[in-house]
Symmetry: C2
């Protein structure tokens, strides 16, 4: 979740580069994978990537997948809504972003019952996607 906080200044150059690289990737990318892809465009150090990611996350344009230490561009434009659910295939690495009112509502309810002032949430489901499940179990995306 991580609610969008403030005004929309235009994205800076580095933020744009990082966001576009994420949007173009079929799978979540780690900070160093981003750095590799952006060396040509002038990025040199991890700090540059992490800074851009921080700002993009603060705006809700990028999400961090905690179980992967990786990042995705937000596909929805939810940016202010509640908890998001990620569905992650451990096989092909693809991640889908969902929102669900039952989950969102109940998580807010649980936080309230627990006396927690909710700042952010992370919900990630891991498993094998339908496509990977159909190809002989154990096949990995490189093998196909």
């Amino acid at each position: 979740m991580t609610v969008a906080p403030t005004a929309d200044a235009p994205l800076t150059r580095n933020q744009t580069l990082v966001l576009e690289a994420l949007a173009a990737a079929p799978v979540p990318l780690g900070a160093y994978a981003l750095l590799d892809r952006l060396r040509d465009q002038g990025l040199r150090a991890p700090a540059q990537v992490y800074r851009a990611l921080d700002r993009l996350q603060a705006r809700g344009l990028v999400h961090r997948l905690e179980t992967l230490n990786a990042f995705v561009a937000c596909r929805e434009a939810h940016r202010a809504e509640g908890p998001v659910v990620f569905v992650i295939c451990e096989h092909c690495g693809r991640a889908r972003e969902l929102t669900d009112e039952v989950i969102g509502g109940r998580l807010r309810g649980l936080a309230a019952e627990a006396g927690l002032a909710l700042h952010s949430s992370s919900v990630e489901l891991r498993g094998t996607c339908a496509a990977c499940g159909r190809t002989a179990a154990g096949t990995d995306p490189e093998t196909r």
Copy 2:
């Protein structure tokens, strides 16, 4: 979640040490924090701690908190049930483990709808707990 897989051999020495250290701690501990606390009992290297943690997690006796890179002893004895929800105070660092049938059921439903064969789940709510919220906002546990 991360379902418990197999038979119960007795815990090994290192596993016992790690589990007891976690059970005694008021907050989740990282692997290196565990290592520090267990040097006296003979643990020397990160790999020893990570190995014990892996086995304890496989049995459902320990959970990993993905947003903290830290570990907690399981308080419930759920060990085979569905998704668990962690409620984490960013202030005092305490984490509570909950299970909720609405969340559990709906997450399984979402996975099924998405065509995902669910292997494990991670659900973490972050915020400020009631105790920390009452003490002048911004107070941290060291300060009190």
